[in-house]
Amino acid sequence: MNARGERPILEIQGLSKQFGGVKAVEDVTFQVAPGDVFGIIGPNGSGKTTLINCITGFLKPTRGSVRFNGREITGMKPHRIADLGVTRTFQIMRPYFSMPAYKNLVIPLSSPRAKRVGGWRGGGRHGDRNTVAVDILEELGFERDSRVPYKIAGTLPTGYLKRLELGRCIALRPEVLICDEVFSGLSASEIASLVPLIEKLRDQGITIIMIEHRLRELFRVANRVMALSYGEKVVEGEPLEVIDHPKVREAYLGSEEGFTC
């Protein structure tokens, strides 16, 4: 139980990850409550992506544990964790470059989880998944009647690839959605169009963890924020508490990152 008396959906306890001598993540503990939009901030190289990789099974933590809905998931295979409903986007986008955009979503729609909990329209065969994929893309801001959803993913600009990353997660009907810098590399107007989408997903009951450099946009949606520096947790709390924390100002804002954008 946390301070607000809710049972956390994710509990990270004493998590550490070392690469040889480099301590990328060091003894990080935090909890995420259901329905939270939990922000993680920190300068480049502060261990945010490594932390996500440890939570989602793409890396094995050196020490510490990860619990999802009270269940130990530390060291599970990534596809098992995704299957349980903890999904993530990749900071370096990983589309299927040779396939059309909508086919990129047919893959997660063909996964055991999507078949089990998806409840997508039609659900079953070939044609249906293609339609559902285009539905999801439309929700993500791909113009349905344009040619964009049918274009080869390798030819799409960054903004669409970021949405495709989100689409892969949404197709799995996740309980937890972890976004690794989905706003970076996007224009202000593109971000403005994505923020309502994040809010909509939150309102659907999906718990969201957002790693962001763009503090202004992050603070519009996040209700809790944690700051990392050199792999260690510096502070966690309400957005305004965090921003006022001297260490955050020094480590993060002192370098003029974030608010300058």
Partner: protein, 337 residues
């Protein structure tokens, strides 16, 4: 006055629709799409009739099918799954031995022994390859190259599976027509079924593994399991070739694991066009008879063979099928404006 006319590419408008939906409006369009396929299938089906006077060339036609099956298996693994397998001979040999055991030890007729050898052989191959699935590129290639060599030495040393003698007295086919059409029909059906399978969602997932396995993991799909299923499918093709061939020659020996059986299909794939599945069929159709004709050159055979291959790779590196597809799609017709 003459009517205004302009040139238009025939595939315009067909391509978009034909990729997923089959709603073609005219017989002309249907002919355009199905023509090449019909030509290929018809050609293969006519082979036994055309080659009737020559038992020798009839057998060569069946060797074409065997190499084609192994080549399709290679093409599928390399270009759709991302596993470069040099182990065609492994699939072939295991399938052959399994079928031979089914025939000689259990006394099963070909109609049972061949499918049994195919499926059991593919299962065995897959089980043995599963530990290697996390390997990539050259490492997987080397392991698959080692397996047939390993099998040869193992059989020699331990005298299992008939030792160096192999198995004799395998039940043959009831007639020459059964023998010929059995292999040709299954080869064609296999290739087109595989193309169809790859267009389905399950096939798409396999191709996704090649594109980006991390994204597949993040989609909650077990990559190793997916690869294992793909290896099983590829092994079915190779094992079937082996199982069928031992029934044609009515014996099996360690030569079933010969290196040629791994190399020739790769050459056929390169010539025919990688990543097309039909290309390897065409590659085998050219390469196997060529290799037979070159027998007259005696020891120079390999030299000529190598020159032809090199020439192909240098001058036509995309492969015949890719070249032909590109040209075919550029066919134009006159339309009234």
């Amino acid at each position: 006055m003459a009517q205004a006319r302009r040139k238009e590419r025939i595939d315009r408008g067909i391509k978009v629709r034909s990729d997923s939906i089959y709603a073609l409006s005219s017989w002309e369009e249907i002919a355009y799409l199905l023509g090449p396929r019909a030509l290929l299938i018809g050609g293969f089906l006519l082979l036994p009739v055309v080659l009737l006077p020559s038992p020798y060339w009839s057998r060569v036609a069946l060797s074409v099918c065997v190499v084609a099956l192994l080549a399709v298996s290679f093409d599928f693994l390399a270009n759709f799954v991302g596993l470069v397998s040099l182990g065609g001979a492994f699939f072939y040999g295991i399938g052959g031995y399994m079928a031979a055991v089914a025939s000689t030890e259990l006394g099963l007729p070909p109609v049972v022994a061949i499918p049994a050898g195919t499926v059991l052989g593919a299962a065995v191959c897959t089980l043995l390859l599963v530990p290697c699935l996390p390997l990539r590129g050259i490492y997987f290639a080397i392991i698959t190259l080692m397996y047939p060599l390993f099998m040869t030495r193992l059989i020699e040393a331990t005298e299992i599976l008939g030792g160096t003698e192999g198995f004799r007295g395998i039940t043959g086919f009831s007639s020459r027509w059964t023998e010929q059409y059995g292999l040709i029909v299954v080869t064609l059906a296999g290739v087109f079924a595989l193309r169809r399978f790859l267009a389905e969602d399950a096939g798409l997932v396999i191709r996704a593994v090649k594109d980006n396995d991390q994204a597949v993991r993040a989609s909650g799909i077990n990559v190793t399991w997916t690869k294992a299923k793909a290896v099983f499918v590829a092994a079915l093709f190779g094992c079937f070739a082996g199982a069928y061939y031992v029934h044609m020659y009515r014996n099996v020996g360690i030569s079933s694991f010969a290196l040629d059986l791994s190399i020739m299909p790769i050459a056929a794939t390169v010539i025919g066009g990688s990543g097309t599945l039909v290309g390897p069929l065409i590659g085998a159709l050219l390469l196997v008879p060529l290799s037979e004709l070159l027998r007259d050159f005696g020891s120079l055979r390999i030299v000529v063979y190598a020159l032809v291959l090199t020439g192909f790779v240098v001058l036509q590196s995309e492969g015949l099928m890719n070249f032909a597809t590109r040209k075919y799609q550029q066919f134009e017709r006159w339309v009234r404006v």
